[in-house]
């Protein structure tokens, strides 16, 4: 007789939690069957019951990361430039939880680069991010809060800025405090907000 469904579902939750805790501590590089089993206080056999291969574990971890990121709380967003600022702040590692998530995102790129399918999925994720920011840039331009110009290019520049700050903050948290990251963002947005000189 198989396990009752309730328990099986609970166990799936435990596995997700264990995978997340390994990722948070050691990144994708540390995500081994043995490490997940240790976190679960179970045998490696329990883990291989859920995952057929290392690649399946990576795929599962990437989905888990996306699901957790999509489900995170967002800052209340006003219109225009304020909404754009809030959207970028939601990306940055400004507190413990977002720092952990960003460390995991940065660590995921190593596996993503080496695997065509994972790389395509990541490319799709970042392209969707640019699309979302483009809408916010357009709104801020319509309100006259952001200089005119190609909204998509500006959105790509802003997402690039955010990703670069994330990388440096994750590698050098002492230098990149939340206050420092927000000051960088505000200086950046102030520069972008300037209208071109007419004469």
């Amino acid at each position: 007789m198989g396990r009752p469904k309730g328990n099986h579902e609970d166990r799936r939750g435990d596995v997700a939690e264990a995978v997340w805790l390994v990722l948070a501590t050691d990144g994708f590089n540390g995500l081994t069957i043995r490490a997940i089993a240790r976190q679960l206080q179970a045998t490696t056999g329990v883990v291989t019951h859920y995952f057929g291969s290392k690649r399946e574990i990576i795929g599962y971890a990437l989905e888990l990361l996306e699901k957790r990121s999509a489900g995170r709380p967002r800052r209340a967003a006003a219109d225009g430039l304020a909404a754009l600022r809030a959207a970028i702040m939601d990306m940055l590692p400004l507190d413990g939880k977002s720092t952990t998530a960003n460390r995991v995102w940065v660590s995921s790129w190593d596996h993503a680069i080496a695997d065509p399918q994972f790389r395509r999925e990541h490319a799709r994720r970042y392209a969707a991010g640019v699309e979302r920011l483009t809408g916010l840039v357009e709104m801020a331009q319509e309100l006259g809060e952001l200089a005119a110009g190609d909204a998509r290019s500006m959105a790509t520049q802003l997402q690039s800025f955010a990703l670069g700050v994330i990388v440096q903050a994750v590698l050098d948290p002492a230098q990149y405090s939340a206050t420092c990251q927000i000051a960088l963002l505000d200086d950046h947005l102030a520069r972008l907000a300037r209208t071109p000189e007419i004469c």
Copy 2:
């Protein structure tokens, strides 16, 4: 009788080349003793003769990456904004060789995050990059080619922009052609060059 020094030195060069080829193909995640041995067409025993542990291999690979990056050819740099533009172009994955190097850099962050010493070394590298760009921003400001303001903040924003473009270009090379990356950089520099509105 030991091997003549000449041959030993040659072999070290072979090992460096093998490590680089594994990194270029599979990133840090694929950098195993077995993969290096396969690339060398040698036994794993030959590799463990050079490296005492997996961590030693990672440390060696990070040094190799830094040495290769430091030794790469740079664009001839004029003064001011042109020199700043050239310095950022030298960072971006605009051709095959720089794309490979950047893929390896991005893939190195996973290991660096999980290891305090490697993370400190990376933090030092990116801080040195900001210092270098700060000098170029100051020069461009003195020449009146770049808007006034905190040069260090602007340099950090520019390095962030470059790192973010690198991440997206490495994950989505079809979208981020060399032409596209240069257009983004030029749009970005044009925005930063604008002087604040006086009235």
